[in-house]
């Protein structure tokens, strides 16, 4: 036990759940926030028993404008000082913007952006007053890439990156650190909830494991690193995305966000291999003929 407390939003699933385990292992007390009360309670029971820590469950819907305020108040009333804030709760909606569900998109903005700013404000104030504290923000590789078919979601993650980088600068002279974790596509419930389980990115690319991503984020947070891109492929992508034009990145992302069609993909690959084969054969023939001709001359 280290006597410190970490508040984790989105602790009922995915990365958030993994963060809760990591903090508990290191002896942090926990405040677990999400909507699913029973799931949180179970996790809380598990972790308090296994690691002898204290845990508080706050079932809140962060799509409600006053949720952040309530969370802060309850912490105050229970005399809990939050030393680490993890803004993990987030969601998305899949589909062409003109057809996608407005209500879900407004919730996405409220949870991913507004509540994140609100919670950061309330807890950061106290951290700065104490001149100690740590905050982890969940960005994404999509923070750098406009995301067709998840246009609002990608934009919320671009918001989180810009916001976090500005705050990192503002907090330069303090002992409070902010870290942004930027995962690529990972195998959590995220895609199912977004209605994006049929996409190429979910079906046909190698997904990160939530426990690996959370571990990377946790270590970055603890050492106060500004930005953690989890996974080698994603690191390469992030470097590229920083330099390439948005329209280009958007086109690339569009391809990954389209529904996965195994037949079409197979055909595409066959075509690609065929082209490669024909080119190779051509080159070989040319080389062979060139040799022959040369030998003729000799």
């Amino acid at each position: 036990m280290n006597g410190k407390t970490a508040l984790i939003t989105g602790a009922s699933s995915g990365f958030g759940r993994e963060f809760a385990k990591l903090f508990a292992q290191d002896g942090y007390n926990l405040v677990l926030v999400a909507r699913q009360q029973e799931v949180l309670q179970q996790l809380s029971d598990e972790l308090t028993q296994a690691h002898g820590i204290n845990a508080t469950v706050l079932a809140k819907d962060l799509a409600q404008p006053d949720a952040a305020d309530q969370i802060y108040l309850e912490c105050q009333q229970q005399g809990i000082q939050v030393d680490v804030l993890v803004n993990d709760a987030g969601l998305s909606e899949y589909g062409k913007f003109v057809e996608s569900d407005l209500r879900k998109e407004l919730d996405t903005i409220q949870v991913n952006v507004t509540s994140l700013v609100y919670l950061t404000k309330l807890f950061l104030r106290d951290m700065v007053a104490r001149n100690e504290g740590k905050i982890l923000q969940l960005g994404s590789t999509l923070s750098l890439i406009p995301t067709p078919l998840m246009a609002v979601y990608g934009a919320t993650k671009a918001f989180v990156l810009s916001f976090t980088e500005a705050l990192q600068n503002e907090l330069n002279d303090t002992n409070v650190t902010l870290t942004i974790l930027m995962p690529g596509a990972a195998d959590t419930d995220f895609f199912n909830k977004a209605g994006a389980e049929d996409t190429k990115v979910y079906q046909d690319t190698k997904l990160s494991k939530p426990e690996d991503v959370a571990r990377d984020g946790y270590e970055g947070l603890m050492s106060g690193v500004p930005r953690v891109v989890s996974g080698f492929k994603n690191k390469v992508q992030a470097v590229g995305a920083g330099m390439l034009p948005g329209s280009l990145m958007a086109a690339a992302m569009r391809d990954l966000m389209e529904p996965y069609d195994p037949d079409a993909e197979r055909k595409k690959k066959i075509t690609q291999y065929t082209i490669a084969g024909v080119v190779a054969a051509g080159v070989l023939t040319w080389l062979a003929l060139g040799r022959n001709r040369r030998s003729d001359w000799n």
């Binding site: 003109v98 246009a151 990608g154 503002e170």
Partner: protein, 315 residues
């Protein structure tokens, strides 16, 4: 004189860039729908344009876009009046200046997110649906150079603008097979009421803003919108700064913006000097990467016209 029968709806038409954008449309004979809170001012503007250009019909709609139901109300009002919106200009927006942890006003920042982000998404949804049914329409989004430069001392504002650019670029891609275009206008510091309203008066950026006319910025945006371009950075120095942001590390970029956001206080000589020094550093920095910027832009322009597919990378 041309009357073109089309209608442009402009949020934030009561002041600054939105007002100048409205003028561009008025000059080209568009019918106008002017939206903002200050209906007195909007009515004045309606009279001014009608007298000066006398072409299209001007409708004034009072709305506080920080209210969640405002976009739907504006949309309903258009339907009630039988107005078809051919061009949507999402201009209304504001900032809040200060250190996020200790100085800025949370309520103002929440209203800002609602206005700059949520209302923009909501209005776009409502009007884009109808544009898609007709397969015709144009949308202009007020982004900013702050869309690509994290903005210390206006951390929330900069992030709202990063949101807008990402959203616009994604949307543009989704609409590429339609006749609907989405254009992002990215101004740098511009001489409007923006800095006063944000409480950022007297900053280096505010001083820089004095040199850039809202009318010029609006003109750049209008032309880009009309020709269906994906985005336009207004002003040479701003173009360079945006290009620079692609190749420089973020903390460096951010620190540089921080200097622009500083307030050389009290007209005190020492501070004035410091302000000048900061401006000079910024200036020379921008100058030094100007060539880099031009190269980057040239590359960008080339890249825009090639139809890029991820599968190209697999080969």
């Amino acid at each position: 004189m041309k009357i073109n029968g089309q209608t442009a709806l402009i949020t934030g038409a009561s002041s600054g860039i939105g007002y100048e954008l409205a003028r561009c449309f008025a000059q080209d004979g568009y019918n106008l729908v002017l939206v903002s809170r200050n209906t007195d001012r909007l009515n004045e503007i309606a009279n001014e344009f009608t007298q000066q250009y006398g072409l299209g019909k001007v409708t004034v709609v009072g709305a506080d876009l920080a209210q969640p139901d405002a976009p739907q109300r504006v949309y309903n009002e258009m339907n009630n009046q039988g107005i078809r919106v051919n061009v949507l200009v999402n201009d209304a927006g504001f900032g809040e200046y200060g250190m996020f942890a200790t100085e800025t006003d949370l309520q103002k920042e929440l209203s800002m997110i609602q206005t700059n982000v949520t209302a923009l998404v909501h209005l776009t949804k409502l009007f884009l649906r109808d544009m898609t049914t007709r397969n015709e329409g144009k949308i202009l989004m007020l982004a900013s150079v702050a869309s690509v430069l994290p903005n210390p001392l206006m951390a929330v504002y900069g992030a709202t603008k990063a949101f807008i650019l990402s959203f616009s670029e994604a949307l543009r891609n989704e609409l590429k097979d339609t006749d609907i275009t989405v254009t992002a206008l990215m101004p740098g510091a511009t001489n409007t009421d923006f800095f006063n309203r944000a409480g950022a008066d007297g900053t280096v950026a505010h001083k820089q803003a004095m040199k850039t006319d809202a009318a010029d910025v609006a003109r750049d945006g209008y032309e880009a919108l009309m020709s269906g371009k994906d985005k336009v950075v207004s002003g040479m120095m701003n173009k360079a700064q945006v290009a620079m942001s692609r190749v420089m590390p973020d903390p460096f970029i951010t620190a540089n913006v921080r200097k622009q956001m500083a307030r050389p206080s009290n007209g005190n000589g020492q501070h004035e000097k410091e302000g000048k020094k900061q401006m000079a550093t910024t200036g020379s920095l921008v100058g030094a990467v100007l060539i880099l910027g031009i190269v980057a832009l040239a590359y960008y322009n080339k890249a825009r016209y090639t139809d890029f597919k991820l599968s190209d990378l697999h080969l």
